[in-house]
């Protein structure tokens, strides 16, 4: 197991290096001028040249790559052109908000998805099955921008039950930043008012984020459950006189869960990279907006840094999914 883990970690380094190299060269060969983009059309040309020198853009491409690599080895992702701060600091600032939202979104997807999937499988061909299929179709095909605004309109504007955007009410002071995770920080600093407010603020964006995952998880749960429900040991369990609920959850679902975990892993990885649209609609200060703005502004240290970070998140999520297989199915062994 440990040897497997070590091998995967070494591979992960190569994956990150590959991603970094690709993004580095792509971001530099596109025919655009990041300094001009930063300074706008009105900056005097001498200033543009001065700043190009500051970011080594006046050097040959390969030399720039070597300089970047040397810094990277020291754990330095460089300075963001747009924010002027170390990219690492920016990532540390924006990631916690995305992490909280992605985790909440994935949990909701898991709960709704498994529920709908199991029901659809058990009630195959009946109303619940059709309803689950329609909901899944809806979840996959609804544009996030539209569903986000619709939920805002309903729960915030018309009913007034949930807040409109941001992580806290506009006039509420934030709990002091300890981990950057607002739920944890508010609990640690004893700010229960902030905790309750933060949970309320998370409901709508997490719900919007969960739509796609719910759809995917419910479909895969259904098909996986249908496979398992046809197995002989399920018939045996029923023949033994076990209650239907126990047959479904203990015997069938436990064995149907592996493909579900894979989809959950992919969903979580996708949400961890941040969702620019959800973050924009709900004024959420997360990684998605940071990374997208970096791309638009051609802030290439931030582009390369955030892409590598997102690749790392995917790699770690995939590793955890693979490791969870061994835990969930004792027949699987890693060597």
């Amino acid at each position: 197991m440990l040897a497997y883990l070590a091998r995967r970690l070494v591979w992960m380094v190569f994956v990150l290096l590959g991603v970094m190299t690709m993004v580095f060269f792509i971001s530099r060969v596109i025919p655009a001028d990041p300094v001009a983009a930063l300074l706008g059309g009105q900056a005097p040309p001498e200033l543009v040249e001065k700043l190009k020198a500051k970011w080594d853009l006046d050097k040959p491409l390969f030399r720039q790559y070597v300089i970047y690599l040397a810094r990277l080895v020291r754990g330095d992702l460089g300075l963001s052109i747009a924010s002027g701060r170390p990219v690492m600091e920016d990532l540390a600032h924006y990631f916690p908000a995305t992490f909280e939202l992605a985790t909440a979104g994935t949990l909701l997807s898991l709960v709704f998805g498994v529920f709908l999937g199991v029901i659809a499988a058990v009630k195959r061909g009946r109303l619940w099955d059709h309803l689950s299929r329609v909901l899944a179709l809806f979840g996959v095909s609804m544009p996030v921008f539209w569903s986000g605004l619709l939920l805002l309109l309903l729960f915030y504007y018309w009913l007034g039950w949930l807040p409109g955007g941001g992580q806290l009410p506009f006039y509420m002071t934030r709990p002091s930043r300890i981990t950057g995770l607002i739920l944890i920080d508010s609990l640690v600093s004893g700010r229960f008012d902030a905790f309750v407010a933060a949970v309320k603020h998370m409901v709508l964006p997490a719900l919007v984020l969960s739509f796609f995952g719910t759809a995917a998880i419910s479909r895969i749960t259904r098909s996986s459950m249908l496979d398992v429900l046809g197995e002989e040991y399920v018939t045996t369990a029923r023949a033994k006189g076990l209650r239907e609920w126990a047959v479904i959850m203990k015997h069938a679902f436990k064995n149907a869960i592996l493909p579900v975990i894979t989809v959950v892993g992919v969903t979580y990885g996708r949400l961890l990279e941040g969702s620019v649209i959800t973050e924009t609609v709900f004024s959420w200060p997360g990684l998605g907006r940071y990374a997208t703005n970096a791309f638009l502004a051609l802030d290439f240290p931030a582009v390369v840094g955030s892409t590598m970070f997102i690749a790392l998140l995917y790699a770690v999520t995939n590793l955890l999914v693979d490791l969870s297989y061994a835990y969930l199915n004792p027949k699987i062994r890693y060597a």
């Binding site: 596109i30 025919p31 655009a32 001028d33 990041p34 001009a36 983009a37 300074l39 059309g41 009105q42 900056a43 005097p44 040309p45 200033l47 543009v48 700043l51 747009a82 924010s83 002027g84 600032h93 924006y94 605004l149 805002l152 309109l153 915030y156 504007y157 009913l159 007034g160 039950w161 949930l162 807040p163 409109g164 955007g165 941001g166 992580q167 009410p169 506009f170 006039y171 002071t173 934030r174 309320k200 924009t280 609609v281 709900f282 004024s283 200060p285 907006r289 940071y290 703005n293 638009l296 502004a297 051609l298």
Partner: protein, 526 residues
């Protein structure tokens, strides 16, 4: 059925419990996109949103009156009065006494000298605004505790001097003691600390800044003009205009800064809201590269100006949220020339004929990907087709476009330009200063990029230093008349700045450079 009724009752009950708290009455909440904000280091701030925050937190030597008529009249700021020497090069500023920084320290000549020298030494991008006339830190000198002299490298008019020294950012006055207290060996000017804190003497104190989330300002009770009526201002990052509108209508924010024209139109006249509209000092313009053969003929350039349907663009594409402005010194700015074009296809065709292009020609128009540029470009394509010019529109990201534009490699571009500070020299130099199209040119701005050797370069230089305001105004009007007659630009319109407030907000005035908006005079009716 009964189960469903219970469920609905519980749902509504939970909804009620989760209801939202009310916004305190002495707190002003502004919804605004924070995307452009980098930080609040005064020597570095260049973007509008950052400048808007500095305007509340810092003071400068001189101010302008507020509102739409802003920049027509200079009013004293930290300097109570000033005079200029006979040779027009040395400006003496007499400082107001008894003004306090937020730390309680006194604003004096040392602070002014320290602040301007600090900006000049740090030399961040926006410093060119000051450096073009005051290139050397030693040109700022203390005379006594409340008197400062600033020497310029050339004679400049009073309005221009005020526009430069009133620029919130490189010319903001910082508290030397606070800056020095946060200086480190690596960062002797405390730029890292000032990026997130303030050392000013303005009406508000920068209390909290959470990136891409909120900026909290608190009233400074000892402000020299009096205590602000509002106790706290929260500038909340709401990047999506639709979300801003919902928050405004729900009463969660008092002011929405980034609504789209159709949203503003929807709120106009609705009870409970006020719409404030001011023509901005930026404009969309079309530029023709004189280096491209057909545009080397002045008559072709004139034909293009007469072929555009300006009203169609303003009404249909800008949804009425723009005003006519067809010259590069915008409406309301000192020296603006009332010069307007309209579509006259007969005249345009005649000019094409006289130029020898009766059969027309093909041209590539580069523009940006974001709205409204592609739509305006489509209208221009239609209009120019009517006089035989076949336009191929190429849409590209701004950074990509700038690279081509700066290298003089375009044929035609459609982009925007905005005044950097409140004086026509900020417009005349880029649009009309070009004595050569080679790399040795003194000013490599728009005239140079479009390879337009202007015959009025000497007027542009002369106008900068003209001490007589009347003569200066005439010079700028003459420059516009010449350049808009023969030059390579078609100025299309000035978009409106549209800000919507709840009707409880009183006293908000938005000047044409919106980042000069003062929150000091705002109050909220209870």
């Amino acid at each position: 059925m009964r189960k469903w009724l219970v469920f609905c009752a519980v749902f509504v009950g939970v909804g009620g419990f989760w209801g939202l708290a009310q916004v305190p009455k002495d707190v002003l909440i502004i919804g605004m996109s924070h995307e452009p904000i980098i930080d609040f280091e005064p020597a570095r701030v260049y973007e509008f949103e950052g400048g808007f925050v500095l305007e509340q937190v810092y003071d400068s030597l001189v101010n302008f009156v507020g509102g739409r008529e802003a920049f027509e009249r200079i009013v004293p700021g930290l300097a109570e009065s000033w005079e200029v020497s006979e040779d027009g090069l040395t400006w003496t500023f007499h400082l107001r006494r008894g003004v306090k920084f937020h730390s309680g320290n006194t604003v004096n000549a040392d602070a002014v000298v320290f602040s301007l020298r600090r900006s000049l030494t740090l030399s961040f991008p926006p410093i060119w605004i000051l450096k073009q006339f005051v290139p050397n830190p030693e040109m700022v000198q203390k005379v006594d505790d409340y008197t400062v002299t600033i020497t310029t490298n050339q004679r400049i008019g009073e309005m221009l001097m005020a526009a430069v020294l009133g620029y919130q950012g490189v010319c903001s006055i910082v508290d030397p003691a606070v800056v020095q207290a946060h200086a480190t060996a690596d960062d002797p000017w405390a730029t890292k600390w000032l990026a997130e804190h303030d050392a000013g003497s303005g009406p508000f104190v920068l209390k909290e800044w959470v990136r891409r989330d909120r900026i909290v300002l608190e009233a400074f009770p000892d402000y020299w003009r009096g205590k602000p009526a509002i106790r706290q201002v929260i500038i909340k990052d709401i990047p999506e205009p639709a979300s801003q509108k919902l928050a405004l209508e729900r009463g969660d924010i008092d002011i929405a800064w980034n609504l789209l024209p159709e949203m503003v139109a929807d709120l106009k006249g609705k009870p409970g809201f006020n719409v404030i509209e001011t023509p901005s000092w930026y404009f969309h313009y079309l530029a023709m590269n004189v280096g491209y053969e057909p545009f080397s003929n002045v008559k072709v350039r004139q034909a293009v100006r007469w072929a555009i349907d300006y009203d169609a663009i303003t009404q249909n594409i800008m949804a009425g949220a723009a005003v006519k402005c067809h010259t590069f010194v915008p409406i309301g700015m000192f020296g603006h020339l009332d010069l307007y074009y309209y579509q006259d296809l007969e005249k345009a065709r005649q000019l094409m004929k006289e130029a020898g292009y009766e059969q027309g020609f093909a041209v590539e128009l580069l523009t940006r990907t974001d709205p409204p540029y592609p739509d305006i470009a489509a209208q221009i394509k239609e209009d120019l087709k009517k006089i035989g010019i076949e336009v191929k529109v190429t849409v590209m990201t701004y950074s990509e476009l700038l690279k081509v534009y700066r290298a003089q490699q375009h044929q035609m571009v459609l982009v925007r330009w905005g005044a950097d500070y409140a004086d026509p020299s900020a417009q005349a130099a880029p649009f009309a200063h070009c004595e050569t199209t080679g790399p040795e040119a003194k000013v490599k701005q728009l005239a140079w990029r479009n390879m337009y050797i202007s015959g009025v370069t000497d007027w542009v230089e002369q106008a900068v230093g003209e001490p007589d305001a009347r003569k200066r105004e005439i010079l700028y009007k003459a420059i516009q008349a010449v350049v808009m007659e023969e030059g390579p630009y078609v100025i299309l319109h000035s978009p409106l700045i549209q800000v919507v407030t709840r009707d409880v907000v009183q006293g908000l005035e938005v000047p044409p450079l919106w980042y000069y908006t003062e929150l000091f005079g705002i109050s909220k009716a209870r």
